[in-house]
């Protein structure tokens, strides 16, 4: 068994070793990317080997204990790794995407001065993500959680000489940190009530947690709901849900591989992973699940619409990530955790492919990011165009592509199990409209960039080198076939139970029966009866009409489109709120504290004034002593008489 132990540890730690080595010692570019890609490859291969072991074995979770974190009384805090079905699935996806992005960034970053630093940071990030997924205790979870936001801070601020990058990574880290506050509080509560940090103990006494309740504002609140809320706030900040999403569009300041790896595939999905990992916690409170679905649905629709009037290609894809994350949150909220994870993995593939295509376009046009300054690139960059087209189709959920499988499952689950209340209808309608909007904005990019009139001044544009094309094509293939291939692992009778220790409440069993029924009956047939597919195809056709055939429509209908366009361009005023209200409130508050502190300190100077009064008083006193001899005697006689008088009086003689 020693071999498995070493392999599990090494699968996570290869990228760490590679990252540290390149970061500290390597200087040459070639050695740097070789080392990192090798590290990532080894980690990917060992995870595949583990997956085979897991599948062939009796699907037992592979657990490895690393060290004893602290030996405090009745708090067992051991740090270790555990590869169960869920972790293996995620690790496979993360290491695959990370490997491809390593290869991709060889091509993308070759003329950048921070090349070595970039590779070490990317590898360290992959280690952090793998550790987050593979750890078997809450302390390791929080360590992974914080380190991915730290590496995103470094990577967003990679071009440190740009002030906007400094602003973006500061904002990103702060919002993540805000979420981590709630998350840490939830962790502390959880550890306190389970007396241990290991997942196994947490799952063991989930029911105990469900019954205990704390009274806040002296009405009892179920502990699991409270911890669930805190975890959800943490997930909201990490997976950019509606109020805390403002950092993701700005995080496009980082290089494109970073956007592809972090802000599309791996980091932003950590929130979904967390909620899925502790699904059993959320299961106990219907209210919380409803809140999650509503926030997810609003995110899915409205954040997607913002992409409609965005000019920067990377920000458009970032907005699409926001909306897809909304879909995952809806799936989580509805209790279909394994479907959320399925969509997460599929989304990782086609979103990473989209970003890579965008990256290769940017490289081709010498770092031009505005889609209206590109056009007609199909002829000069056919492969990028094809990959973009395929992943766009998969994104908008067109049947044969993998996007269709996961998105359609979410929609059918939503239709089946959303509560029959106004909110339930709102959720379903929102994600339905989302299916319409998604193809609109993604194909708008496609038509304007690849098929529209050629209005870039770069003359001859050549296809990007093989290091960019090769990973892009692999991801395009994955976004075609992955859905059909991996569907049985997630859904259906012999699926792996992804979410551990799910309480088999009636809702969960009903949901599973419904999903099994759809899958056995053939997903495509079921989809035909659903409006979702119609909306997706309709969206594609609509975008073809608006942006390909009649581009002049948009110019002609300028007037009544002006107001919604203004709203969408300003991202519903979130940025304005953030900059003017929250930031000014905080700095105003800090300045008043400082001023009050100053005044307080000035009070202190009042104290100084008090000391000055003492000095003045002392000076007056010292002037009493005028060195006139007879005044001395006068004072002395008075004192003499006074003393004698007092003592006589007190001793009762007088």
């Amino acid at each position: 068994m020693q071999l498995i132990k070493i392999l599990t540890i090494s699968s996570v730690c290869w990228p760490l070793a590679a990252g540290l080595l390149t970061g500290l010692f390597v200087k040459s570019h070639r050695l740097a990317h070789r080392l990192c890609v090798l590290g990532m490859l080894l980690s990917f291969l060992s995870i595949i080997w583990l997956c085979i072991q897991f599948m062939s074995g009796s699907q037992q979770a592979i657990v490895v204990d690393l060290m004893q974190w602290s030996s405090l009384p009745n708090l067992n805090a051991k740090i270790g790794l555990c590869f169960d079905a869920f972790a293996i699935m995620m690790c496979l996806m993360v290491s695959a995407v990370a490997l491809l992005i390593h290869i991709y960034s060889i091509g993308y970053m070759q003329d950048d001065i921070g090349y070595v630093r970039f590779f070490s940071l990317i590898s360290l990030f992959s280690f952090a993500m793998l550790f987050l997924i593979a750890t078997n205790n809450l302390i390791g979870l929080f360590l992974g959680w914080e380190s991915i936001s730290l590496f995103s801070y470094f990577l967003i601020g990679f071009y440190y000489y740009k002030n906007r990058a400094a602003e973006a990574n500061f904002k990103a880290f702060l919002i993540n940190r805000f979420g981590d506050c709630a998350f840490c509080l939830g962790l502390a509560l959880l550890i306190y009530h389970c007396k241990s940090t290991a997942y196994a103990d947490v799952y063991a006494n989930i029911n105990l947690l469900a019954n205990t309740s704390l009274n806040i504002f002296n009405n009892p609140v179920q502990l699991t709901t409270l911890i669930g809320c805190l975890f959800f706030i943490g997930a909201m900040s990490k997976s950019a849900q509606i109020p805390l999403h403002i950092w993701l569009p700005d995080s496009m300041e980082g290089p494109t591989p970073v956007s592809a790896l972090l802000h599309a595939a791996t980091m932003v999905t950590a929130g979904v992973y967390l909620l899925a990992r502790f699904g059993s916690m959320i299961e106990f409170s219907a209210g919380l699940k409803l809140v999650i679905t509503v926030i997810g649905a609003t995110g899915a629709l409205f954040l997607g619409m913002m992409a409609l009037c965005e000019a920067d290609i990377k920000r458009i894809i970032a907005f699409s990530t926001l909306s897809q994350l909304g879909y995952m949150m809806v799936a989580i909220g509805l209790g279909a955790y394994h479907i959320a994870i399925f969509h997460l993995i599929m989304h990782a593939f086609f979103k990473a492919c989209l970003f890579m295509a965008a990256g290769s376009v940017i490289v081709g046009l010498h770092h031009e990011q505005n889609i209206f300054k590109m056009g007609g690139l199909w002829s000069s960059m056919p492969i990028t165009g094809l990959c973009f087209f395929l992943s766009a189709l998969s994104l908008s959920g067109i049947p044969p592509f993998s996007g269709f499988y996961s998105k359609d499952l979410i929609l059918s689950v939503a239709q089946a199990s959303t509560p029959a209340s106004f909110l339930g209808y709102y959720v379903y309608d929102a994600i339905l409209l989302g299916c319409l909007v998604t193809p609109l904005y993604i194909f708008r990019v496609y038509w304007t960039v690849f098929c529209g009139p050629e209005n870039h001044q770069h003359g001859e544009v050549c296809e990007s080198p093989w290091t960019i094309r090769f990973p892009m094509t692999i991801l395009a293939i994955l976004s075609i076939g992955a859905g059909a291939l991996t569907l049985p692992f997630f859904v259906g009778p012999d699926a792996l139970n992804i979410v551990p220790a799910l309480p088999d409440t009636s809702a969960i069993t009903r949901l599973n029966q419904f999903i099994n029924k759809i899958v056995t009956g053939g997903l495509l047939i079921h989809a035909l009866r659903e409006p979702a597919l119609a909306f997706s195809i309709g969206g594609v056709v609509l975008s073809w009409i608006i942006y390909k055939r009649k581009p002049q429509w948009t110019t002609r209908h300028q007037t009544w489109l002006a107001i919604p366009e203004y709203i969408l361009r300003n991202q519903y005023g979130f940025d304005w709120v953030y900059n003017n209200i929250i930031v000014t409130f905080f700095s105003g508050c800090a300045r008043t504290c400082q001023k009050v502190g100053e005044q307080y300190l000035i009070n202190r100077t009042i104290e100084n004034r008090v000391s000055q009064n003492i000095v003045i008083g002392a000076e007056k006193f010292s002037r009493v002593q005028t060195s006139y001899l007879n005044r001395y005697f006068a004072i002395m006689s008075v004192a003499l008489a006074g003393l004698i008088g007092i003592s006589l009086f007190y001793s009762g003689i007088l």
Binding site: S627, Y628, N630, F633
Partner: protein
Amino acid sequence: MLRSIIILTSMMLVLTAFVGMIINRRNLIVMLLCVEMIFLSANINFVYFSRFHQHVHGQVMALMIIVVAAAESAVALALMVLMYRQYHTVDSSKLVNIRG
């Protein structure tokens, strides 16, 4: 009865000495005189009460006081002579050189 009269006289003498020192604005020598008066008023007490207690200690003390008072005034006058050489006056209100 006589006892209280004696104490009264010595108290009167001491009080006059005190008043003398306070009222006298100018002259250092007068202050010295008043101090000597205090010595002598104590002397009265000692002499009378030595007789009252029928033992000689009081008178011995009186003698001692006179001797010491003499030495005292000798040193005091010597110092005043030296001061006179510097200040050319015996007026105590001129002795204000030390400030602060």
